[in-house]
Each structure stands twice: as C-alpha cells, then as structure tokens.
C-alpha cells in the first residue's frame, strides 16, 4: 500500500493551515461518500484531513436572526435538535428520512453539500430556507447563498484550500416541509425530492420557496412558479397552474434523459406531499 | 422407541446459539498459517475470444505466487449441475460477462487486488444475443451446444380447439417476469487446502457438498475420495449456491501451491458470478364458459437461461407443470423453452420456475372473473383443485389439497359467500 498522510486536527485554525500547506488534501467528514469513493478507487488520496475532532464544527448555535449549523453536524444530530424540529421542519423531515440509523449517525450536512450529488437531500431544503454556506480558508471567510452556489457551481464551488464551516439559516418563521421519493422507505437515494418553505397570512400566501432535487445536475429553485403563487389563497398551491409549471420546469431541466417522462409526472405528487408536510408541520412540530 | 418430542413443538435451531453470539464460522472467518489469496480475472465482454493476455507480466508483479490459466487445469475444464458447460477457466469461447479467464494467486489481499487491476486482455469480440427473440431468430449465433434451445417441453391434455369453442370469454396476454438476483448476505468465499492426511480440502458455504466434491475431483483429476468438502455456516443461498463458484478455483490454487488459499468475492463479483432467476416471457390464452368453468388454456413460456445450462431444463419443466396454476382445466396446451443468450446464466432461485408463472395465470384469472362479473375469489373457488382432481400433466391429487379451505377462510374475512 502507498503511504498516506493522516491528520486529525483538533482546531479549525489547524485544519485551515493544513489545507493551505497540503497539496491535494482530502477532507474527511462522516466518510459515507468519501470512504466508498476511496475503496472503489474512484478517488485517489494522498493526505487525509479528518475533521471529526473539531468540536466547533459540530455545534448548532442560535441567535435572534439565524441558526448556525456546523458542517460536521450529523443527520442524527439534526433529528434530535428541538429548534430544528420546531422552526425548520423541512430540515427535520429530511434528516429523519435520511438513509438509515447507521448512516445518519456518521453522515454530515457539510459532506452532503460538498459531495454535490444531484440527489443530495439537504440541498433543496437549505435552498428553500434561504440558507447560506460559510467557507473558511487562510484568506478569510466566504459566505454564499445556497442557490447561488449551485446555480453557478463551476465558478463558486469549494476551492481546494477551503473548508465549509457552517450553514446559516435565517429564522424567518417559514412553514417548511420536505418529501423524498425513493425506491424504498429506508436507505433510498432520492429519485426526486422537493422542499417547500412558505409564509401565509389568513390563508393567503405571502412568500413561498420551492426547491427540487434529482431533476437536474444540481437542485434548483423554481422562482417563476414561486412568484405566481404570491398573494394567492393557499388552495392555489395545489392548482393545475402550479403543477403544470412544475412539470414544465422538470421537462426543461432533463429533456433528454430517459427518466424525464416519469419524473415530470412524479414531481407533482412529490411537491404536494412536501407542501402538505409544511402546512401540517405546524401541527406536528 | 423414544417418543419424538420434536414433532409439533417449536424447537430452537441448533445453530442459532453460535449465530446470535457471532461465533458461527463462515468461510471468510477462517485463517490458516501461510494462507495465500487467490482471485479470478473475469471477462468484461459477453461474447468473444481472448487473443492475448499479459500473463507473463502479471507473473512478475510483486506478491504474485502463480498465475493459472486453463492449460494448467489437470482435469476437467468445465463444470455444471447437469451439463458440464461452465468453464473453470475459459479455454475457447467467452459467453458472458464474468467468465473466468485467469486465476491469480498472491501472498496478500493487497497484492491480489493490484495484480487483478494490471491484467490486460485483447479480445476478439463477437456479436452476441441478448433477447429471447434474437436467440430464436434464424441464423442467430449459437450460444448453446447445437442450438439456442436448451430445453423444450410440451404439456397436453384434451382438445384445445374444442375447448376454446366452448368459451364464452377468452383473454389473451403476454407477461414478462424480470431477472432476479439472490443477494444472499454472505458473499462467496472458499478456502482450498491440503489436509493433514493429504486430501484436498475445500471450506465453503454450499448447498451441495457432495456435488462440489465431484466437481473438484473432476477438475483436479482426482478420485472423489481424495477430496473433502467442509461446509461452514452458510450465509444465505436461495439457489445461487447450487452451481460451483469459488470451489474449484480454491482447490486448484491449493493443489498447485500446496498452501492454504482463500478466494473471497466482494458484493459486485458475487452478483456478476452466480446464477439468476430466469427472466420469462409468457404468452397466455385462457377461456372460460358461461357457467364460470375454465375450459381451455394455451401457454408458451420462454425462459432466458443465459450463457450456461445450470438448472435451466428443470426450471422450465417446473414452469410448464405449474403453468395452469391450481385450477382444473380440461383442455390444455402448454409449451416451455429454455433459451440460451449471452446474458448472465439463470438457474435455481426460490421457487425454481414456479415463481414466474403465477404472475401470468393469476392475472388471467382476475381478468376472466372480471369479464364474468364474478368475485375473483369465488371464481377461483369454482375452478380450483380438490382431492381427486387431475392436473394438466395427468397427476391425480390423492390427498392434501387445501386450497378450497384457504379460499373459504379468505372469503369469511370479507363476508363473501362462495
């Protein structure tokens, strides 16, 4: 076996310094993507920087305007956090239905984002909640909103010397929901997923954010549809206009894929279940 | 005589204690001093021939003890439960993705992994057949021995034409059942070793130690008594451990090196290497009289048996015999075919040919019941076997036919009068 260098920094500063000094470093979070890639030889590593000892990355902190989720927070941690369940119900649902216990206990939200799979479950939720990513490097801090990060991925994607440290979600009091369509209940990678966050007043939509995953290279928001929903009654959210809008958005995004005919239909049901989880979320949560 | 206290009482499995404590020994849990690791390089093409292999380069790699090709097999080069057609190491034509080309024996797992990666093959690739239709087409390449039809059986009873004349309703459909993989939880592993008494020993999780012994003995040109198969705990099988898989390779490697040798598959190799449940195409035409009695059935069942025979004959025979379901049908014409293609070979899996045909026959029953406007359970009750019924193949059911009682129970749940 070739020799591999393994670092396990205890402090973020140490990790950032290592990232700065090391050519070609591989950051190890929960390993549920990375270790498979290494074992299947899809990825060659020379230096591994294991983030699992850095306590600050594992915390969830709240202030008046936002919640900050450390990149090393696991999906199990997200499930167990009362504020996530109360105020970010979509993220709670996403974590609850993520893989199976063994994976939830290791897999981190940061790894899910940086792995940048089309089907990453947390990404549409973060997009719908208007979340931002915080990257750190020797050059300082870079903050970018999730939608921008993925819509301009080639330019904005993580740089080799950066580490994702936090995900910030504004505390806007959105009702939020999430639904994933998988081939089975557990351990299913999404065929399609959808996240909905909204604000309503007396049955009228004030604001809605809808994000779809696994229907394109990266998850995306359907802003055109969001706009037409504003100031409409809640019932409009399940109207044909909205559903056909979603169908068209999916068709446009994956026109040439063999899964298109299935996904353009399925997206409607997935969206409606995500919406209903958001509206019922207040009661459940 | 001692009373048999086990009958009628729940017993604790004798092997369960070892299993709940993690002490049960599966082949990969065994290690022997001086043990080597062996693995096969498998073809990446479905049909063709090897032109060149860098065998000499592989021999020189670090940690490589020996590289074995078909010329080094002392005995039979092929094995099979009925027909001896599966190559231990290919000596002529490659017929599927996953055919074994080279056996590489190394000092360590890492050296083996590396050596397998370094194998370079130049192939001459042929145009293969991948559907039942293509395999049966005139002029199709012959994947089997003399024909692509490995097996053909007919089951006939009564007068089909007359039967359909009596029909008030007829439904006619074609059904497809897909290939299925067993995915038993413990991937294949075998250890070959020369025993203290000089016998060739193979530790393996197998469904048939006695068959394995024969095949290993044939491969090594030994007498059956010179081979000992030791069955470990078996981590699931479901039919896929009926054919030889790592057994001959482990034995051959031990025979050549005179050292214990372990062959261990990962999940991917496990899936590539062993048999599958037959994908089937099933044409069905079924007729019913106005009074609700079935009067005629015609069925043609094609099983894609893949590159090798395995149990294809027996599986398709069973499909033919089960094609009419548990129903009394006086006029029958059923045909079943096992057809060779360059797909993964199909063999035994849970149900052995009896699992696919119910999809077709039961769907036909539902459709006929609907046409008659009769409850589907009631329709089945009217037509199902009872003691004394004669099956399509002429078997008289002398006892133990309980389907009527089953239907009665089901109907009572639904408050349905039969």
């Amino acid at each position: 076996m070739e020799s591999i260098i393994f670092h396990q920094p205890r402090y973020l500063g140490e990790a950032i310094q290592l990232l700065h000094e090391t050519p070609n470093p591989a950051l190890l979070a929960g390993g549920t993507d990375l270790i498979i890639d290494i074992n299947k030889e899809r990825k060659k590593v020379e230096t591994v920087i294991d983030l699992s000892r850095i306590e600050v990355l594992k915390t969830i902190t709240v202030n008046e305007i936002e919640i900050e989720i450390g990149s090393m927070v696991t999906f199990a941690n997200l499930c167990e956090n009362p504020i996530i369940k109360q105020e970010f119900f979509g993220l709670f649902l996403c974590a609850k239905h993520f893989a199976a216990p063994q994976i939830r206990n290791m897999a981190t939200i940061g790894g899910n984002i940086i792995n940048a799979s089309a089907a990453a479950d947390s990404v549409p939720v973060i997009m719908s909640l208007e979340g931002k990513f915080v990257f750190n490097s020797v050059e300082g801090e870079r903050i970018i909103c999730a939608v921008e990060y993925f819509s301009n991925y080639e330019k904005e994607k993580i740089k080799p010397h950066e580490v994702l440290t936090k995900i910030k979600l504004p505390r806007k009091g959105y009702l939020s929901g999430f639904y994933k369509l998988g081939k089975r209940n557990s351990l299913a990678i999404a065929r399609i997923n959808a996240a909905v966050s909204l604000k309503e007043k007396e049955g009228v939509v004030e604001k809605i954010n809808i994000a779809l995953g696994a229907v394109g290279r990266y998850p995306f928001r359907v802003t055109e549809i969001e706009k037409i929903c504003v100031e409409k009654p809640l019932s409009y959210l399940e109207s044909d206009e909205v559903l056909i809008g979603l169908e068209t958005a999916v068709y446009e995004s994956i026109k040439n894929r063999p899964t298109m005919p299935f996904k353009k239909e399925a997206v409607k049901g997935v969206y409606i279940l995500a919406l209903q989880s958001a509206l019922g979320g207040e009661l459940n949560g | 005589m001692r009373p048999v206290s086990a009958v009628g009482a729940s017993q604790i499995r004798p092997d369960a204690y070892e299993k709940v404590t993690g002490k049960a020994i599966y082949p990969d849990d065994l290690e022997f001093p001086g043990m080597l690791y062996a693995g096969v390089y498998r073809s990446t093409i479905p049909y063709g021939r090897v032109i060149d292999l860098n065998i000499n380069e592989i021999r020189k790699l670090p940690g490589v003890v020996e590289v074995v090709d078909h010329t080094m097999i002392p005995g039979a080069k092929k094995h099979g439960v009925i027909f001896k057609d599966i190559p231990i190491l290919v000596d002529d034509v490659i017929k599927r993705v996953g055919d074994c080309l080279l056996l590489i024996i190394c000092e360590t797992k890492e050296a083996l992994k590396n050596a397998l990666k370094q194998v370079k093959v130049e192939y001459e690739e042929y145009e293969g057949v991948f559907t039942i239709e293509d395999a049966l087409r005139e002029g199709a390449p012959i994947i089997g021995d003399a024909s692509n039809v490995l097996y053909h059986i007919k089951v006939q009873k009564g007068d089909l034409e007359q039967g359909f004349k009596e029909a008030k309703y007829i439904v006619e459909n074609t059904y497809f059942a897909q290939m299925t993989e067993h995915v038993f939880l413990q991937p294949e592993c075998a250890i070959g070793k020369i025993g203290d008494d000089g016998l060739i020993e193979v530790y393996v999780a197998t469904q048939y130690p006695h068959y394995d012994r024969e095949e290993v003995a044939r491969c090594l040109n030994l007498k059956d008594e010179e081979v000992r198969i030791i069955n470990t705990a078996v981590g699931g099988a479901f039919g896929a451990r009926e054919d030889i898989n790592p057994q001959c390779h482990a034995a051959l490697a031990a025979y050549i090196t005179k050292r214990p040798v372990k062959v261990l598959y990962d999940r991917e190799e496990s899936i590539i290497s062993h048999s599958k449940r037959h994908p089937m195409k099933m044409y069905y035409k079924t007729g019913v009289r106005e009074d609700g009695k079935l009067c005629a059935i015609e069925a043609r069942i094609y099983g894609d048996t893949g590159a090798y025979a395995s149990w294809g004959t027996n599986v398709l025979r069973k499909s033919a015999l089960h094609a009419t379901g548990p129903y009394v049908i006086p006029n029958v014409f059923v045909e079943a075919f096992a057809v060779h293609t360059n797909n993964p070979f199909a063999g035994a899996m849970r149900g052995f040919g009896a699992a696919q045909v119910p999809l077709a026959i039961e769907a036909q029953m539902d459709m006929l019941a609907e046409k008659l406007g009769m409850h589907p359970l009631k329709f089945r009750y009217l037509n199902c076997f009872e003691v004394g019924s004669v099956t399509a193949s002429g078997q008289v059911l002398a006892s133990g036919v309980a389907i009527k009682e089953c239907i009665e129970k089901l109907a009572s749940h639904d408050n349905l009068s039969l």
């Binding site: 076996m1 020799s3 591999i4 393994f6 396990q8 190890l28 390993g31 549920t32 270790i35 498979i36 290494i38 074992n39 299947k40 590593v45 591994v48 294991d50 699992s52 199990a76 893989a99 199976a100 216990p101 063994q102 994976i103 206990n105 290791m106 209940n185 557990s186 351990l187 | 729940s10 604790i12 499995r13 092997d15 369960a16 204690y17 070892e18 299993k19 709940v20 404590t21 993690g22 002490k23 049960a24 020994i25 599966y26 990969d28 849990d29 290690e31 067993h182 995915v183 038993f184 939880l185 413990q186 991937p187 705990a233 078996v234 981590g235 699931g236 099988a237 479901f238 990962d266 999940r267």
Partner: protein, 165 residues
Amino acid sequence: MVEVTITVNGTSYTRKIHPLMRLLDFLRDELKLKGTKEGCGEGECGACTVIMDGRTINSCLVLAASCDGKEIITIEGVGGAELHPIQRAFLEVGAVQCGYCIPGMVLSTKALLDKNLDATEEEIKEAISGNLCRCTGYQKIVEGVKLAQTKMKESRGEACECGRS
C-alpha cells in the same frame, strides 16, 4: 502508518495501522474478532454494524484511524457467560436463519433498547432499517426485539427487587 488506541468491548488496543484501514478490517484482521461481517462494503446492508460511543455505525465506512480514543462494542461484547436477553429472545422466537445479518441486527437492537426500552413497533422497524436480512425473516426479528423488550424489563424489575431487599 498511524498509531491508534481503540477500546473494543472494554479492552483497549493500541496498534500501528495503515491510515486507510477500515474499522471493519481492524476488528476482523487485527483483533481477529470475526463476528462483525462484511456484506456489501458500502453501507447498504448493515452486516458490519457495530456500536461506537453509543451509536450504531457501519464499520465498513469508518476508518480505524478516525476511531482513536473511541469505544466500540461488537457482537463479541454482547452478553457473556450468559446470553444477553436480546440474543436469548432472537433464539427463542426463531429470528435466526442464515445468521449473517444477526450480529448487526443484535447491535442495532441493543443501541435502540439501551436508549428506549419502550420502543414501538414503528421505532423498532426504523432502528433495524439499515440492516438487511435476505432470508426474509424480518417478522420474526421484530418479534425477537419485542420479546427482548419484555425480557429486559423483567430483568430490570428483578434487579430493582434485589436492590430493595
């Protein structure tokens, strides 16, 4: 090579290992604890489940190097001279068939019941959802977990009684 110290079933082991060695290989090859099984090598089947600091993980997806200072429980650490009530229950209801999933099933069950002895059927199914059984024995396994709950509650009750007298 890196040096790690990992506590497995209460015993601390220090070894110099390759940094990319999986925890599964550390247990099986270094410590010769063969009860932890490999079924898929990619986190899908759960045969390699062990408990790390109270939580179940797939030992095929975790580097041993990352486990420095951690506490691991494997099937060899469940029960002792006597079977653990979970093992006893699995045995009695006939939850064991080929046995290859069982070490992982027992550990997933233990992680659940150690935290929540009153788990509902839904919670039981969720807790073992990362463990595949291909013999299709889920029904009996769930029954086994339920019987284990009863047994563990009984033995807890007995322990209390002893304490009082």
